[in-house]
């Protein structure tokens, strides 16, 4: 099953163009949607989860027209929104069972089994009788995952799922996702590059409503090979370097500044070739050295 987006656009009533003519093909497997805050990720995710209407474009999930046959999408959809709450006075088991019924698991025995398996999977089995109001943020997030996984979704949409998780929980969660990615479309939106690099077979970079790059992470990284240069400098040298070179990222390392520069040839003394990683792909794309933005007349804001 594949997810096809054709020319999806969305403008909010206040004039913000959240999505501009987005066209994507998302095969089964883990797909990462990478972009800064406010890039339009959540809008895209919500449109895919049937919660929002695009102004234009079409979306197909396999044979399903996702904009018209919403209910068919919902039957096979798992959705973990970026933010959600719970009924504070209900226990996890009870609420999950309620959702299981809503997902069409009518048979009581089956429902029990599914609920148990999922609660064990997300490590909430021990606290299943607790009221959800007493759950910590991470427990709540895992509960959300369990809800999203109900009914073996063919399309799983998780919107910034790792934001509120501690490192251990994040790992466990990503493991879970990668399992699922074997035969479903799993769309993961994040602004954390590692999430994508560790998991996804394909990815897209989105900014200001536009898909800037659609690629396989490994190929994209390979494509940058020999074009990323690195230099460690002191703070006051930075403005000069930024003037002369295409700096794609600067970060601090033990009090010194490390700059990465995009250049087809060696940019000059002091620079050493760096082994590119996905972060370099992301920043190069955002800076307009590769991907869609390079084809446009004037590259927009650099980081």
């Amino acid at each position: 099953m594949e997810l096809h987006l054709r020319g999806v656009s969305k403008t909010y009533p206040n004039g913000v163009r959240a999505l501009k003519d987005v066209t994507l093909t998302i095969p089964a497997g883990m797909y990462g949607l990478l972009g800064p805050n406010g890039a339009g990720k959540s809008t895209l995710m919500r449109i895919l989860s049937t919660l929002q209407e695009p102004d234009a474009g079409s979306i197909r999930l396999g044979d399903i027209d996702a904009l018209k046959q919403k209910d068919d999408v919902r039957k096979t959809l798992g959705y973990l929104p970026q933010e959600f709450g719970v009924y504070p006075k209900v226990s996890a088991e009870e609420l999950l069972e309620h959702f299981a019924l809503l997902k069409g698991i009518a048979e009581r025995r089956a429902r029990k089994d599914v609920v148990e398996a999922l609660l064990r999977q997300v490590n909430l089995w021990e606290v299943r009788k607790q009221k959800l109001g007493g759950y910590s943020g991470g427990m709540r997030q895992r509960f959300g995952v369990a809800v999203a996984l109900l009914g073996n979704p063919k399309l799983l949409i998780v919107d910034e799922p790792t934001a509120g998780l501690d490192p251990a929980e994040r790992v466990r969660f990503l493991n879970l996702l990668s399992e699922l990615g074997e035969n479903s479309v799993v769309l993961l939106s994040t602004h954390i590059v590692e999430d994508v690099s560790e998991l996804c077979t394909r990815m897209a970079i989105i900014d200001q409503g536009e898909i800037l790059l659609e690629a396989e992470p490994l190929c994209a990284v390979a494509g940058l090979s020999g074009r990323i240069w690195r230099r460690i400098l002191s703070k006051h040298e930075l403005p000069a370097v930024e003037r002369e070179h295409s700096v794609i990222s600067t970060k601090l390392l033990a009090g010194r500044t490390v700059v990465h520069v995009f250049s087809d040839a060696a940019p000059g003394p002091g620079f050493e070739p760096a082994t590119p990683d996905l972060e370099d792909v992301y920043f190069s794309t955002m800076a307009g050295h590769i991907g869609r933005r390079r084809e446009q007349p004037q590259p927009e804001a650099a980081p």
Partner: protein
């Protein structure tokens, strides 16, 4: 400074939101309409200015009631927005003190609310001064009217309500909790104050809104001129009430301030520290990278998405919704607190005028039910609760933050919509069941075991529940469509206000136009549900079809997902309008059209449809057209011969009759004016025994003119034959006429029979109506000195009446007169009644499966017609009738008839009775009015019956001022004397003590004197007490002789009708000159005596007697009709009484040692009395002859203490 910043920010923040402006607009429009239509219409018999302080205050009360119900969001948002939005970690950590934070927020909410309530005053002003009001209805502009209303009603209400709303919202962290605060106040005003505590006078005190003291108290106790001119004053109960509630509000604020913490809020009490800790220490994997993990072992289970699973979803959501409500505070209030209070309310209501009523299921149910539109019933608290719950349910997922997850679940929108509706319905069904339990509990407490469970189920589940369910669906749909919680509440509450109040104000009377409306039902033991259920059901089905259509609309526009603008939802609706949905919508539309068509056929084709204004217009037109014939000579009715065929099952009556008419005037009469019945009554034939031609026939207004070929000479007799046919087909907008039903038919001549001459009782009464239709003003009662009412009684002592009444074989028919004969013919039973002495012109006919209890008094046959199961009253009625005949025949003259009928008719759970010549009728309440029948307790029904019997001796009185006193006042005086003569002084004192209480007639200390009495208080209380006092001063023989002479003078043929002036003349004749000043004080002016015993001491003399010394104080004041109080000097005889110890079980005044008149002056004085035995009690006016008005502490009498 920070305080100001917080205050200003809050004010500006809410000022930019939409809802305060909506609230303002709603209040403005409501007050406008209320002033324009409500205030004018409600003053039915009154005529006060539209802009009088009273009218302004009344609208202000209703305006602040609406404000209370809709605008709680202001205080709620100010108090709880930070927590609700999750902002509180930011605001709570600011360097701001609690006082600044809470104070600023509260003050901003208060100021906003105070400004909002200005909309009420603005609406009133607009209504008065915008074009469209006649100039006469507007008095001079008085700013004080608006200022007092705003300052004494609106502002305190705003403060109290804001404080309580704010406190609850701050405490719970939820803005919606403020609506619960509103509900609490509403509940106090309508449920607690109205029902539970009214009798103790606490109701007025406890009502936080002002409904009691403006709408109830002032409405009834202010005279018309006061309603036009008097300003609202902040004193007495009103002041106490305002102070009490301000105190409660300050208390709530203080508690909020003390309990409030700038602290993190934990969400649940079921939060367990132990498990939380375990979670925090869950094992950390050694490697933080993503590692391969065990395959997911979630079983792949079958899933279904058919109709069955939708049903399962619906039920699951219904159950979850029910649980949410039932476990919330508001839910517990509805399901537990209100039913528990209801037990107390029912117990409290199971008594009338001091005597208990048997708590039959029918009576208890009448306390538990009310139509949705009964805006002053105590159950008006339920619809706002339904709105609240509907809002909570519609918003449940979104408020929990689960909206996106549930919205992305599969399934149609029907499941949540119907699920929530069913959940709410289940809550209401459980509520009905709880009320059922409450009713039965009250019955058990009163020792009543006959529960009639089936009746409970039919009424509460079958009739009351659907009423609530229809509204619940509307509330849900409104919340779904509006999709903004506060505005949703506003719209839903306004929908309720529309149903209950506005529809009538706007003149929308047809039940096809007001959601959920329909004719009412009624249940009585005699009639059962009668023919009322059919129309009720048709209308409810019609509205259920509408509800279905509404549900389809709500389903189509059900907000799902992130975008909820109307455009987006309409777009989605197109996709959702699938074939099945279209079928449902189509079915609903077809049902609406068919049912509506059927109802329309019934209300417009089978029965004429007349709106209220049509009816007034018809009456006005009647007067305009035919008033000119009022004074032309017409023959008088002197006798009837009727054949009345009642067909209970067919709901039909056929009347054939002939009247004997006599020209009693001095002129020949050449045309006869016949007033025929209007509205579904067919007057078929009218013929005369001489040639007459119909020259005018006005079917619509019921007036025919026949020209006689040969004029009727003075003293000549004319026979008029007529046929009237009444058959009730289908039902009208107001339901079914209950006159003729399967069991328990009752109708009077007034509505159906033809009569000769212009019918003055058809004229419009209300001054406003008359003005609106351009008619001359007409006082409710003409002035005492007006010649109009003084004309000779139009009939020479009444008519002779003869009738044969036929009915079903198993029923008994009753009509005026003595029963001559009864027979069966053609499967029907006939009763022949005729009078032995003249009776009046109003005749009642009854037919039911009666039991007849017979008795005799001398040669008078007494027949009590009663429902076979209603027997508790029979002996008491018989006793009272006999005692009355004993006393009245001796004192006032012979009883003219050989029979007396006491007839029960269906309906009317009250205990009132109605007396006509030789016939007393009562509703089904009276038989269940059962005093405790024990030594020392008052038998009030006995006295009431004696009062009705006294009406048999009521004079033909003129319809002028003072008439209510002549009719009711004299009858009560007579009843007092019967009680005294047959049951003794003790019983009389119990009766007087009961009548001295301020209920049900609160005292009025101004207005007209007794001779010009209009008010029930004067007729039923001050009148009888004045007569009684006089009888004690001059002797009851003398007073009775005066009354007897009055009756003799006015009861004979051709005598002028009596007025209070005639009575006064006769009373003067029997009063010695020394007491004439007292007579003047009692009847000509409003005199109040304030008599008080300060101290009573006793010393034994050497002779063994006791010398009692009393320090008494006296004061006499006179009130004029405007209420101005003048103290007048007093110098008159007043009884001073000394009493010995009473025997066991007897009243404290049962052993008088010395009761004698002493001359008492104004001011303090000492009186000495010598008595033979040791005194216990002593005082001035011990029997309350002059100082009779009941007060908390009886200061006329004091316990006697030992010598000084």
């Amino acid at each position: 400074m920070k305080f100001l910043a917080i205050f200003r920010f809050e004010l500006a923040y809410q000022g930019r939101r939409a809802w305060p402006w909506f609230f303002f607009a709603v209040l403005l429009v409501f007050s406008f309409l209320m002033t324009r239509d409500g205030t004018l219409a409600e003053a039915l018999y009154e005529d006060f200015f539209l802009n009088s302080p009273f009218a302004v205050a009344k609208t202000t009360v209703f305006g602040s009631l609406i404000w209370l119900l809709v605008a709680a969001a202001i205080a709620g948002d100010a108090a709880a927005r930070d927590v609700a939005t999750g902002m509180h970690p930011l605001t709570y950590t600011l360097p701001v003190s609690k006082a600044e934070y809470l104070g600023g927020r509260f003050l901003a909410a208060l100021v906003l609310n105070a400004l909002l309530l200005l909309a009420v005053q603005a609406g009133i002003l607009l209504a008065i001064y915008a074009p469209g009001v006649e100039a006469e209805a507007i008095g001079p502009f008085r700013p004080a009217a608006y200022l007092t209303a705003y300052a004494f009603i609106a502002l305190p209400n705003a403060f109290v309500a804001t404080a309580i709303q704010f406190s609850l919202a701050a405490r719970s962290g939820r803005a919606m909790a403020s609506y619960l605060g509103s509900f609490l106040l509403f509940f106090m005003g309508f449920f607690v104050a109205a029902a539970l505590l009214f009798k103790q006078g606490l109701g007025t005190l406890l009502d936080p809104i002002g409904i009691r003291f403006i709408v109830e108290d002032l409405s009834h106790s202010w005279t018309t001129s006061e309603k036009s001119w008097r300003l609202l004053e902040l004193k007495g109960t009103v002041l106490t009430n305002r102070l009490l509630w301000l105190g409660i509000a300050l208390g709530a604020l203080a508690v909020t301030f003390l309990r409030f913490r700038f602290a993190h809020r934990t969400e649940s009490s079921g939060w367990r520290r132990g498990t939380r800790r375990r979670d925090e220490h869950s094992p950390m994997p050694a490697d933080l990278g993503v590692t391969a993990s065990a395959p997911i072992s979630v079983p792949d289970v079958p899933r279904t998405f058919g109709f069955a699973i939708h049903a399962r979803w619906t039920l699951a959501i219904a159950w979850a919704s029910f649980r949410t409500i039932a476990t919330s505070w508001a839910g517990l209030a509805l399901l537990v607190a209100i039913p528990l209070l209801t037990v107390l309310v029912v117990l409290d209501q199971m008594a009338a005028l001091g005597a208990p009523l048997v708590p039959t299921t029918a009576r208890v149910l009448s306390e538990l039910t009310a139509p949705l539109s009964a805006e002053l019933s105590r159950w008006v608290i339920i619809p706002p609760l339904i709105v609240f719950f509907a809002g909570e349910l519609v918003w449940r997922e979104r408020e929990a933050g689960l909206g996106e997850i549930t919205d992305a679940m599969p399934g149609s929108e029907w499941a949540p919509l119907l699920g929530k509706f069913l959940g709410l319905g289940l809550v209401l069904a459980v509520f009905m069941t709880a009320l059922m339990a409450a009713g039965m509990l009250a019955q058990v407490i009163r020792g009543h075991q006959d529960f009639e469970l089936g009746l409970y189920l039919k009424v509460l589940w079958g009739l009351q529940l659907p009423e609530y369910l229809l509204f619940a669906l509307l509330a849900l749909v409104v919340h779904v469509l509006v999709d903004q919680k506060y505005i949703g509440h506003l719209v839903a509450i306004m929908a309720f206000v529309f149903i209950a109040l506005l529809a009538a104000m706007l003149g929308l009377e047809h039940n096809l136009l007001v959601y959920g409306a329909g004719p009412g039902w009624s249940y009585t033991e005699m009639r059962g549900f009668g023919p009322f259920l059919g129309p009720w059901l048709w209308f409810k089905l019609y509205w259920a079809a509408w509800a279905l259509l509404l549900a389809v609309v709500a389903r189509l526009l059900w907000g799902r997902g992130k975008e909820r603008g109307l455009g987006v939802r309409l777009q989605l609706a197109r996709h959702r309008f699938t074939r099945p949905t279209a079928w449902v919508a189509g079915a609903a539309a077809v049902l609406i059209l068919t049912l509506g068509g059927f109802i329309f056929y019934n209300t417009h084709v089978l029965n004429p449809y007349l709106s209220g204004s049509d009816l007034t217009e018809r009456r006005a037109e009647y007067e305009r057209r035919y008033k000119r014939y009022e004074s032309i000579p017409q023959p008088l009715l002197t006798g009837t011969n009727l054949r009345v065929e009642i067909h209970p099952e067919r709901r039909a009556v056929e009347i054939r009759g002939s009247y004997r008419l006599v020209n009693g005037s001095a002129l020949p009469i050449d045309s006869i004016h016949v007033a025929t019945a209007i509205g579904g009554v067919e007057t078929r034939v009218v013929t005369f025994d001489r040639t007459a031609t119909l020259t005018a026939d006005d079917e619509e207004h019921g007036h025919r003119i026949y020209a006689l070929e040969r004029p009727l000479a003075p003293g000549d007799t004319l026979r008029l034959d007529f046929e009237v046919h009444v058959e009730r087909r289908g039902f009208g907008n107001r339901g079914v006429d209950p006159s003729v039903v399967a069991n328990g038919s009752v109708f009077t001549s007034g509505a159906w029979f033809p009569f000769v001459g212009y019918q003055r009782q058809r004229e419009l009464l209300s001054a406003t109506d008359r003005r609106a239709h351009g008619l001359e003003p007409r006082p409710v009662l003409a002035s005492l000195h007006d010649a109009e009412g003084r004309e000779a009684a139009e009939r020479g002592g009444g008519i002779s009446f003869e009738a044969v009444v036929g009915t079903d074989e198993d029923q008994v028919a009753v009509a005026p007169g003595a029963l001559r004969r009864t027979w069966t013919e053609g499967g029907r039973r006939y009763f022949h009644y005729s009078t032995t002495a003249p009776i009046g012109r109003e005749w009642a006919f009854f037919s039911a499966r009666y039991g007849v209890h017979e008795g005799r008094w001398k040669d008078v046959e007494i027949r009590i017609f009663h429902h076979p199961e209603h027997t508790a009253h029979l002996d008491r009625v018989m006793r009272s009738v006999r005692a009355s005949l004993d006393y009245y025949t001796e004192q006032f003259g012979p009883y003219p008839y050989r029979h007396l009928s006491v007839v029960e008719h269906p309906g009317r759970l009250g205990t009132g009775l109605h007396a006509e010549a030789s016939m007393i009728s009562h509703g089904e309440g009276f038989p269940f009015w059962t005093p405790k029948d024990e030594e020392g307790s008052l038998d009030f029904p006995f006295a009431v019956m004696a009062h009705e019997m006294a009406h048999q001796w009521t004079l033909p009185y003129a319809h002028v001022e003072g008439a209510p006193f002549l009719s009711e006042g004299l009858a009560w005086y007579s009843a007092m004397q019967v009680v005294k003569a047959s049951r003794g002084d003790e019983e009389l004192r119990r009766l007087l003590a009961f009548m001295r209480q301020p209920h049900p007639y609160p005292p009025i200390r101004r207005g007209e004197p007794l001779l010009r009495a209009l008010d029930p208080y004067l007729a039923y209380r001050r009148g009888p007490f004045a007569m009684y006092a006089l009888s004690e001063y001059v002797g009851s023989d003398q007073v009775n002789r005066a009354l007897r002479r009055l009756i003799e003078t006015h009861d004979s043929a051709g005598a002028p009708r009596a007025t209070t002036l005639d009575l006064y003349r006769e009373l003067r004749a029997v009063t010695p000159d020394s007491l004439k000043p007292l007579l003047h004080d009692l009847f000509e002016v409003n005199t109040f005596w304030e008599l008080e015993t300060e101290r009573a001491t006793a010393e034994q003399t050497a002779a063994g007697t006791w010398q009692v010394t009393l320090d008494v104080r006296a004061r006499k004041v006179v009130y004029d009709s405007a209420g101005v109080e003048t103290e007048v000097p007093m110098d008159e005889p007043v009884p001073i009484g000394v009493f010995g110890p009473a025997e066991e079980g007897a009243g404290e005044l049962s052993a008088p040692l010395d009761v004698r008149m002493h001359r008492i002056r104004s001011g303090e004085q000492t009186i000495t009395v010598t008595v033979p035995h040791k005194p216990v009690l002593a005082g001035i006016d011990p029997y309350h002859l002059l100082d009779w008005e009941g007060r908390e502490d009886d200061d006329n009498l004091e316990a006697v203490t030992a010598g000084r």
